[in-house]
Subunit: 256 residues, 2 copies
DNA sequence: CGTCTACTTGACCACTATCAACGCTGGTGG
DNA sequence: CCACCAGCGTTGATAGTGGTCAAGTAGACG
């Protein structure tokens, strides 16, 4: 790499360049989870770490050539598909350590677009290199497959939500999902920031913005959550679980 | 088709044990699609072909150990997940040449159940053997990944349907999807048999049975389809595409 | 011939979308 | 500095799509 390029990269990403999988706090959640030291090293060699992408910026677009997948290092993304008729469907929100873009594998073009919800840094895994590594490192291949399989499972859960659950149940499910994911990353399960807008939430859940807004205020009124703007300061997990239809204990769902 | 080929096919389908990928009429749609002769042979060695499963019989159940995936040789399956609250969501209908069960990979247990919609024969791919082959045959690995990725794409399209489309649009989408899949398999795009019940269709599309029934009769009244029971004898593809929100030409959607 | 299940049709109503108005915030330009 | 505007979020009123309940028909099978 030329000195000029190095300087550019340094400026671009401030200090993120020095990051390595081996020192990354996310390695226990991300692709490297099962890798041996030398395999990890091989993976590290192919990862490109560019400048951070700003809120609203697009990482890749539906229809773009599929030549890389991305692991989120910091920040958050949303991915969404566009129907021919123009409707936009948000297919997922993605937090640090998650892999984005794998749905493009089947067709050689990205099947969704990905846009930053806040300033976000990603590790880029060029497809050609990843393919080679998958054939050399069985553990990596398995990990990628697990990721894909997990996304299938997750999308199918979402289908269930969209087709069988009421607006309240969907929102409870959404909050609990997020809560759980934050917790796994070492953050509070009961207090966090919604990086996505109400419009995004409503789109994702198949509801109107107004409905989401109303339910938030109702949940607050009934003491299930404390929320101000994007800031959630308290989740009543048990009550939400009951509302979402997940048995918590042998209690009844009378929170509303 | 030669007489010889006919005889082979007959033997294949009656005494299913003798079947081979190399002689299977589905090889151009199924996993073997990109495989070389010797790789195909290796794959063939690990495939188990059991007795046909009858309509209503379960191939695997949500929660079962994930130790195999299945390719459908003849017939059709539905897969579905059960929510904790007991609701059932059909996550897909599967036709000959399609792979079922891959969503279990992430968690080592099946995340859905699979049940036969009619008498069905499958090729069982034991997971341990498949894993080994994936590491030995890059083309096979790619093909499995393509399958997974394709299922993600498909499920996300379904999310869009469920969250953004009206009942009519969903049913049109459903019929067109089926039509397209039959066509790829060499059957008519305009006339086929619905192997699933109305209840299944309504469950899959997130509607009430009554709604599906009503829309079928309305579509028939308006000349978009001809249907009697499970037998569809004519689809007006253009009109359905317009109804589903897929631009066909520069025509307006005034079919209803 | 009776029973069962799948499907259809009708009447009614609830959930949630839609429309409209308003407050708040942050950015932009005079 | 303030006026203006756009985007986001909230709240209220109204209406429509599709669910629910109920009853009836048709086909499959013993």
């Amino acid at each position: 790499m030329s000195t000029e390029k190095k300087v550019l990269d340094f400026i671009a990403s401030s200090k993120t360049n020095q990051t390595h999988c081996s020192t990354c706090s996310l390695s226990s959640l991300c692709l490297p989870i099962t890798l041996q030291a030398d395999d990890l090293n091989a993976l590290e060699q192919v990862i490109k770490r560019g400048r951070p992408i700003q809120k609203g910026e697009v990482l890749f677009k539906q229809g773009d050539d599929f030549n890389a997948v991305f692991a989120i290092r910091t920040g958050a993304l949303k991915s969404f598909t566009l129907a021919q008729s123009g409707e936009e469907q948000i297919t997922g929100f993605h937090l640090a350590s998650e892999l984005v873009g794998l749905s493009g594998y089947a067709e050689d073009v990205h099947s969704v677009s990905a846009k930053a919800l806040e300033t976000t840094t990603v590790c880029e895994l060029p497809l050609d290199k990843l393919e080679i590594l998958c054939d050399e490192i069985p553990d990596l291949r398995k990990q990628v497959m697990r990721n894909m399989s997990g996304e299938i499972r997750q999308d199918q859960q979402m289908m269930l939500q969209l087709s069988k659950k009421s607006a309240d149940e969907r929102l409870a499910y959404f909050l609990l999902e997020l809560s759980h994911r934050f917790e796994r990353r070492g953050f509070s399960a009961k207090a966090f920031r919604l990086s996505m807008s109400r419009v995004d939430i409503s789109n994702y859940l198949g509801l109107a913005v107004e409905t989401v807004s109303r339910i938030f205020t109702r949940l607050q009124k009934n003491g299930l959550i404390t929320i101000e703007g994007k800031e959630i300061t308290h989740l009543n997990l048990d009550a939400l679980n009951r509302l979402a239809g997940n048995p918590v204990a042998d209690t009844q769902c009378d929170a509303l």
